[in-house]
């Protein structure tokens, strides 16, 4: 098996004939923190949507541990161990924080089809284990005090933490973060950086889109830069930072967050 956990080979995605991703390739190593940057509208989120099965690219291959996963439905992608957060936070707003995180335990839960109707000793054991895991994650993300609060009532920064806790609850091998620092203040961003390091230390591979350059440069080990759906540069953070093509792309477009 190759050392790369995720390989994207010549992927293209079109919308109504317009190209959103153009012949994009990249390889993510196991255990890496991999950054994707680029101006707004460059196709970064579209790429994540292709990996997680929300979109099916028209061309190219997406290999997960050497196996083609292009066109696989989103829920099966999650079962394979690829979990994500969303740029526009998608929590179950009316449900409590604990219940939100519990959704991440879905694929780990071993309840049988009849446990929806009748409970068995195995059910009680499984249920307890999963809630305990939720408890651990709430402690890890400093969320315990909000356990019963509806997720939608909490601040932006806290909601981002809940989303990460939810994805992590599924014990992913690859965690995909779509602009995890968007809307966070300086302190929260710092905290987030440390959290992502800890997640890496658990053995989770992390892929992230982020606009906060300081954070990306300090955190990631490898970066691909996308503009107009195509790769314009790739390499170590230090290299990418000084690449004239990248500088040009950022000066030539609006750098600040509008929306993608």
């Amino acid at each position: 098996m190759s050392e790369y956990i995720l390989e994207i080979k010549h992927v293209s995605k079109y919308f109504h004939g317009l190209v959103a991703i153009n012949d994009l390739s990249m390889k993510v190593k196991k255990g890496q923190i991999y950054g994707i940057i680029g101006p707004n509208g460059a196709g970064k989120t579209t790429l994540f949507n292709c990996i997680t099965g929300i979109y099916t690219p028209e061309e190219g291959q997406i290999l997960w541990k050497g196996k083609e996963i292009k066109g696989t439905t989103p829920f099966k992608i999650a079962e394979l161990g690829i979990l994500r957060t969303f740029q526009t936070i998608r929590l179950f707003a009316e449900m409590s924080v604990a219940e939100n995180i519990m959704s991440g335990r879905h694929i780990k839960s071993k309840q049988k089809w009849y446990n929806g109707i009748i409970h068995t000793p195995a059910y009680y054991k499984d249920e307890k284990e999963n809630w305990e895991k939720v408890g651990e994650l709430m402690a890890f993300f400093n969320l315990s005090e909000y356990a019963t609060t509806p997720a939608g009532d909490l601040s932006y920064g806290i909601q981002r933490r809940i989303e990460m806790a939810r994805a992590l609850a599924a014990e992913p091998e690859l965690l995909i973060l779509d602009e995890p620092a968007a809307g966070l203040n300086e302190n929260e961003t710092l905290e987030l950086t440390q959290t992502i390091r800890k997640i890496q230390a658990m053995g989770v591979t992390v892929m992230m889109i982020e606009h906060d350059m300081e954070m990306v440069m300090s955190l990631t080990e490898y970066i691909t830069v996308i503009n107009f759906g195509a790769k314009i540069s790739a390499g170590l953070p230090a290299f990418v930072q000084d690449d004239p093509v990248v500088v040009e792309a950022y000066i030539g477009s609006d750098e600040e967050d509008e929306h993608e």
């Binding site: 997680t52 099965g53 929300i54 439905t73 989103p74 829920f75 099966k76 999650a78 079962e79 979990l83 994500r84 969303f86 998608r90 929590l91 179950f92 707003a93 009316e94 449900m95 409590s96 604990a98 219940e99 519990m102 959704s103 991440g104 879905h106 694929i107 839960s109 309840q111 089809w113 446990n115 929806g116 109707i117 009748i118 409970h119 059910y123 249920e127 307890k128 809630w131 939720v134 408890g135 709430m138 402690a139 315990s144 005090e145 909000y146 356990a147 019963t148 609060t149 509806p150 939810r166 994805a167 599924a170």
Partner: protein, 316 residues
């Protein structure tokens, strides 16, 4: 220490338990039907309130259960007890076959498709297919439940059988809500994309909701046919489906007390106001509009956050 909701529930349980001692036979029958309709409303709520599937044809599954018992008993001479299992299983099988091809459709399309199934079901009944369904008049002379030589014939027996049925339904609802399956339905209901991204198969859980809901409605149908010892198509038409649909939304989706309140308002109140025959549905329509404007999530909305107590320790 009991909280307020549990106390209300206990009081209600005691009241419902002794209800037959205080009322005449007409009100006893109303009480029995209230219990049966509550069970149907709960099963509708699994599909509509939990999984969030826009389903407006639930009276069909209720009717399938009723007609299964009626046909097997009257035409084939099965004892009522023996018809219970098929009256649950047949609606479940139909739920799987009918919902399967359309379950991926967007909400409003499902609404119309399920209405369509219900209308087809009624035409099947009215056209007396295979000479089994009895046409517009339905089927008469359904037997009573007999067990160990006891004949459960009186309306009081009927009431308590319905009472036990409601108990079973509530037991299942509670188990569902506290399982991976019930939670998955809520996640899908609240945000399909997020739910899928957590590894939840939309199709599987929506079908699961449909099948379980159909089975419970079928059981209620069997009870209903025995209570009235007759079945006829108009008890299971789209108007009835709309009533079950409205019960859930007026009472409060996915809320156990809400659905009971909804059933009371939509079924028992019209019985109380029978003398205002002509104007009552006008008032009723106005009440539906007003309720939705004042309480868009229903009279008693669902409360989330029912998590194990050890997780609440950190809550300030």
């Amino acid at each position: 220490m009991m909280n307020k909701t549990s106390l209300i529930a206990l009081a209600l349980l005691v009241f419902m338990g002794f209800y037959p001692l205080f009322v005449d036979s007409a009100w006893l029958a109303v009480g029995t039907t209230f219990l049966v309709f509550s069970v149907v409303a709960f099963s509708q709520d699994i599909i509509l309130g939990r999984a969030g599937v826009f389903h407006m044809g639930h009276a069909m599954f209720f009717g399938m259960g009723a007609y299964t018992t009626a046909i097997l008993n009257v035409h084939f001479g099965w004892p009522i007890l023996a018809t219970w299992a098929p009256s649950v299983l047949i609606p479940m099988a139909f739920a799987f076959v009918l919902a399967g091809p359309i379950i991926h459709l967007r909400g409003d399309y499902l609404l119309v498709a399920t209405i369509g199934f219900n209308i087809i079901f009624i035409q099947v009944l009215e056209n007396d297919v295979f000479g089994l369904t009895g046409g517009p008049n339905g089927i008469f002379g359904i037997d009573i439940v007999r067990l160990f030589g006891i004949e459960f014939a009186s309306q009081t027996y009927m009431y308590y059988m319905a009472f036990i049925l409601l108990g079973i339904a509530l037991f299942i609802m509670r188990n569902l809500d506290k399982s991976k399956f019930g939670r998955a339905m809520f996640y899908i209901n609240k945000d399909e994309i997020a739910a899928q991204s957590m590894g939840i198969s939309i199709r599987y859980y929506k079908l699961y909701a449909f099948i379980v809901g159909a089975g419970i409605a079928g059981a209620a149908g069997s009870m209903f046919s025995v209570q009235y010892s007759a079945v006829s198509p108009e008890a299971f038409n789209v108007t009835q489906s709309i009533m079950f649909f409205t019960i859930v939304l007026v009472g409060g989706s996915a809320s156990l007390p809400g659905v009971l309140i909804g059933t009371f308002i939509m079924f028992v109140l019209p019985e109380v106001f029978r003398e205002f025959e002509t104007a009552r549905y006008l008032v009723f329509g106005l009440a539906m509009i007003l309720t939705m404007i004042l309480r868009p999530r229903g009279i008693w909305p669902v409360k989330f956050g029912d998590i194990p107590s050890y997780l609440k320790k950190g809550v300030k």
